[in-house]
Symmetry: C2
Subunit: 412 residues, 2 copies
Amino acid sequence: MIEIDGNRLNARIDAFAAIGATQKGGVNRQALSEGDRQARRLLAELGAARGFSIVQDPMANLFIRRSGRQDNLPPLLIGSHLDSQPSGGRFDGALGTLSALEVLESLEDAGIETDRPVVVVAWTNEEGCRFAPGCMGSMAFASGRIPPEWETKLATDGAPFVGELAATLESLPMADMVGLGFPVHAYLEVHIEQGPSLEASDIPIGVVGGIQGTRWLDVTVTGQTAHAGTTALAYRRDPLRALTAALSSLYETVMPADPDARFTIGRITVEPGSVNAIPEQVRCTVDLRHPDQGRLNDLEQRVASMIATEADRQRCSALISRSFDMPPCTFSNVLQQAIELAAKDRNLKSASMLSGAFHDALFVNRVAPAAMIFVPCRDGLSHNEAEYVEPRHAVAGCEVLAAAALRLAGNA
Amino acid sequence: MIEIDGNRLNARIDAFAAIGATQKGGVNRQALSEGDRQARRLLAELGAARGFSIVQDPMANLFIRRSGRQDNLPPLLIGSHLDSQPSGGRFDGALGTLSALEVLESLEDAGIETDRPVVVVAWTNEEGCRFAPGCMGSMAFASGRIPPEWETKLATDGAPFVGELAATLESLPMADMVGLGFPVHAYLEVHIEQGPSLEASDIPIGVVGGIQGTRWLDVTVTGQTAHAGTTALAYRRDPLRALTAALSSLYETVMPADPDARFTIGRITVEPGSVNAIPEQVRCTVDLRHPDQGRLNDLEQRVASMIATEADRQRCSALISRSFDMPPCTFSNVLQQAIELAAKDRNLKSASMLSGAFHDALFVNRVAPAAMIFVPCRDGLSHNEAEYVEPRHAVAGCEVLAAAALRLAGNA
């Protein structure tokens, strides 16, 4: 058994929330910005003050390492990220990173030796807002290389990726440098759910079994623009009529028929976009998710054929292309069981669930067993300055992480 | 019987199309621009060269007047407009204005005296693109005043309305000034159909019985944005799902059930508009048209209740407001009969029809009997650089205008 210091954890969350704080109580601490550097520095200083070693890799992934009795065994890795959305919350990423630091400090406080080293990680650019894509740090860690095309990337504010990365690395002169990717025994990440289900069922611990597959489609339906007043029905080739018929039918069937499916239209644009003109062309995005790759394929097929059929009925043409394709990921059963047991030890109710959003764990899972611990957030709100986690839930997530970490790092 | 000069008419159409010509064969000659002034000057010079008097009013409506035997009787007014859309065609407006000039010149060529004066008019800013609303010239003529709120209007290019109007008036120093609005015996306007029905039924002359009523609605449906991946169906309040359900049902019923109804969605916007976010809010415009005011009221009611019902089903709220409301207009039966007779005299097939678009005739109709003559345009295209009228159809429209004008101006 290991006792964590809940007050210290919540005080740390407050301290990090002050870096890049927004007026509405949220955080703007985008990847590789000055705020992000400040947060990394604070994390490194807190780790160094306890005598842990501070290491970073060429992607500026930051590691705080506590030695094990068999110090050359692959470490147990625990952590999350410190970067935020432009108007993000105080918990997304920071909660998992600071919970991991709290585990390291609690082990130190209690003088507990582990067989394996335990390493806290803060991954670079999970959010993907200032530089796309998200999860750059864990992606590069898992593949062992920085893709050459990233070298020419520019931030939304115009800053070059290469320069911002270099400045971030330079801002931690006390850190030793390691190569990208090293053997990992297992990876655990605490994160807020970013959805409403734990709160709704009053369960403090989600044991995350995997991450849904995601596929993004770009849909274009083209008809012919014409005057709204002068064009009778028989002469219309209205792409918006085709698209609304298809979407309406998909909304009524896809999710109602399969509770694991997600079908979202986040963006529609209409050209020419004039009140008194039948549209020439409409475009929309489709976000499809499913934990099963085969069902994801079926869904894409259904969306495509429904849109093609309705376009045809309106004498329009339809074009559909994929803009993003992330296969589903399944987390380690052994790690899930370790989390379940840890929750049971702490008398905390837990439930198995899937993550609808990507996380760094998805990429780490490609090279080492990984799993995640979710805690409830108020009203399911995230990517929002009003994001909120009750202190008792933050503490519960950290306690479960600590117990599972102790089991996985070995304390025979 | 009066013979018009078809070659002269078509050559004039070409000459005016050169003013503000676009690369793709269309015209950009927006209201009160330098191109518009140049076209007015050319019209005034052509009229002055034949000895007609040139007059303008404070709205820069331009009149070319040929005296009658009883010269103080209210004149027969014939014409249209010279301004164009930003990427407009060569015929919209110009055809009617130049057909009217051709009638005046043909009367002069043949030495035919009429009882009443015949006056050609080029109305200011029919299109309403550079300065909104459209039909400013005829609207001010019909009401006898320039609405004071127009004085602060700015063009889409930032130019002040007052300054551009003054410069346009000054660019015609040879024109006498008259007050806004004067008694009119009758008004006839030739115009391209801007729709496909005459061409489809191979009829060269449309006798326009009136203009549909038009009502524009702004619809806002508000739900709650949430993560596309993490939010299960039960937690969604998706305003786009509500809107597509309502629109899809309206598309399937409104126009199919009533051939006189027009239902068009020209614009949709989605907030926040992110591929992986359920929308917070969607807005769209609705363009409803019907020749019968009661049915227009019914349609608006139906749209509102359908959207409210579907918003309710998705636990969203809906807000609907009118942004424009133009009651239907019915043209003079006497004038319609005069046009029909004129077509019959010329052995031209004609058909009664309604106009789906507004025209200056709608406003003149409020103070004098008015009617319109439509001619076919290729593929129903208008407000488009590819707009095209066959020369024989331009000539046919002008012949019918000439014959009807002679009948209405009196030649006993």
